[in-house]
Amino acid sequence: MTEPIANTTSPANPGAALDYELLLDCVHCGLCTAACPTYVETGNENESPRGRIYLMRGVADGKLELNERVRGHLELCLDCRACETACPSGVQYGKLIEPFRVAMESLDGPSRRDDWFHRHILFGLFPYSAKLRRALIPARIAQRTGVLKLLQATRLTRLLPAQLRRMVDMLPPPRRNEGPLPEFLPAIGRRRATVALFSGCIGDAMFRHVNWATARVLQQNGCDVHVPRAQACCGAIHFHAGSSDPAQVFADQNLAAFPVERFDAIINNIAGCGSMLKDYGHHWQDARQNERAAWSAKVRDVNEFLDQLGPVRPEGEIRAVATYHDACHLLHAQKIHDAPRRLLAQIPGLELHDLPESELCCGAAGTYNLTQPEMSARLSRRKLDNIRKTAARVAITSNAGCALQIAREARDQNMQLAVVHPMEMLDWSYRGVKPKW
């Protein structure tokens, strides 16, 4: 791998999927390495952003064979994009690793993704909130009746396939069943904006209470909130697992569901979905690209939106020591750091302690906790160790995956820790409700 060579890649080479110029942006300075969670854990340059770019370039140049080891290093990437925040050269790592992995997957043909997990669960169930809610019913019943605890305690859940077992373990404690959001929720007070709420698939299935909280907070802030029924999954699960086409179908479904000209913003409250929605504009180079880009330009994370709008001051006191964990897809992919902190700082009584390594991925990373359980577990342990250092009893984060992961780790370690979304905090404060942690 000494000389940069012209792009001589064959279609069978995943390197062909890359914009080779983007590879050249990397000057190999190495400033990204310590920002990478997998590198921080293993210390192996192969598992660092610079290393992965070097591997991709090696494959693209035809100097390295795409063997199982190389593939393993690339698959271990969380796609958290912390490296993009660290990179002084502005290397667009996400635009390298994502198409490369898509190409890597398609090399295998369908077989690799045709296991039961990908077919039925990851692609068959997750993107469809209604199906997912129904699918969760047996597990929910088991939870409510205490059977699940018993199964977990007696380790009978071991009988489940590993990935399914992890999913069961991920289940947050049951919540009061809130009904679906109505299609329209009017602004309270003077109307300041008209927005549409993206409710998400997993979000709607497992975090409907967060959607409710988000909607109420938006109402409090003078927003007319529309919740289009026809919306679909953002497509991130497929895209990050290397299936580009179905993701595109979802994207275009959403374009139709949210007539962009009617809204000041398309609001989402899950960082992973939000960064996918914001990326619609450059994932697919076809005739509709400009249309998607215009649509994406209206997408706002709810923290970002409220912070820009100037939030109505919350007045209900919440006495608690809390810490805020930066979801990768909010901090690194969307570069949103201050907004949620500024919003939370307005809540009377809330003491917000800085979280060490807040910028480091918790290991959830979309479905990473299901596909790379070992590394995921290492990172979630690390995250909880850091949370423990803050003495916080409440962890606040703006991403569903992070919330599930951190809560699961806390349960595993028998640590009393409430994991909530910033909108829940604001909602409680606006309504003057004492949260039941």
Binding site: M1, T2, P4, L24, D25, V27, H28, C29, G30, L31, C32, T33, A34, A35, Y39, T42, G43, N44, E45, N46, S48, R50, G51, Y54, L55, G58, K63, L64, E65, N67, R69, V70, A86, C87, P88, S89, G90, P356
Partner: protein, 479 residues
Amino acid sequence: MIAEPAVNLSAELRRLLGPDRVLDAHSDLAVFECDAFVIEKHCPSVAVFPQTANEVAAIVKLCNERGVPFVPRGAGTSLAGGGLPVGGGVMIVLTRMREILEVNLRDRYAIVEPGVVNAWLNKRLAGTGFHYAPDPSSQGACTIGGNCATNAGGPHTLKYGVTVNHVLGVEIVTAEGEIVQVGGPVEDSPGPDLVGTIVGGEGTLGIVTKIWVRLTPNPQGVRTMLGIFESVDDATQAISGIIGAGIIPAALEMMDQGILVAVEEAFHFGFPLDAEAILLIEVDGIEVGLDAQRDRVAEICRQNNAREVRFAADAKERLQLWKCRKQAFGAIGRLSPSYCTQDGVVPRTKLPHILQRIRAIGAKYDLRIVNVFHAGDGNLHPILLFDERNAGEIERVLAASGEILNECLECGGSVTGEHGIGLEKLNFMNRMFTDDDLDVMTRLRDALNPGGLLSPGKLLPTAGACGMEQIHPGRRAAL
């Protein structure tokens, strides 16, 4: 020379470290064939990830038994090829030794393992009122072990000194595999200053496995300002004026117009794009004296025809300014597809001269050269812009680089202020030093690295373990 024994060697290394901490597949080793210096590549035969000094010692002993060269590596951010395994062999990657073992504020030291990232230590120290002073621009990624090897600097070394001024002791694994502590938490070990000799030894005198570093109290106050100049000459005269007036700023950095354009495009700070040079100046110390000191610096800038002196309004603006400075190199990508940077040093009073010469050399070779550097120390980082796809441009860059470094030597300076000789600047050693100097240096290396197996081919332009002569006789200058 080592292809055959390497097979058995990895088996033995696996017995020592377990299967997961030994890499020997070609595809796993490719990423270790270069560091941040990418002009030359050398692939190791095996890469190992020890977690304790005992493991390092055992690896080193094994290499000695087999006669295989070995080289330590940290984060691989060397700009001089300091981490390259010249002649192959075993790469001892220290990134798994990354514990901060102790922080002692009363006695003002911390003990760290070599793989601790520079910035991690300061994160750990946040809120204590103390910090670890050496702040290389790569501090977010580079390791303190690597900082020791190169005796790393950084912007704030003008007032606070470089790495060696902040290292109290090191534990090393010697080239023969013995674990030896030199210095420690207490000052004044009797005899020659071995700690100061090993720090900056570029990993040729021992492998550092533990470091006692000095902690420095945070300054009570800081004032950061920008001096904006119509001409580079005025800016350099101002530098000389500030130092000459007996003021030692905490940092004194210069950026010329070329770099300003790139930085402005990247960070939108609001730098004036028509200014030829700006100085980023920071004074720190006792709050009561700071405004006066700041005003005095500003006055000297104005006396030297500064068009304007701007003060950073608050901590946030200060951080933004430093971000612009520290990430300036990265922003170069916006000017040109490739660049090479040099690390020459001149006496501060020679700054106006050397900058004129650099401009002339740029004109002579038809190259664009921009400057962002530690002006207060006289430590230059001229950045030569090029596009490797243009035929002949690399050759011109190499020739111009060589001429700039020679000019630094003519001024009574050095070819490297903080990046190290590595293998990049080997060919300059005999321009800076006589044969006798190099002979005595070789004797020092032989005293501590008698077999020459540890980091061969670095720092000294002499034969290493494999009987190599001058490694790259044909190379005239380095990137």
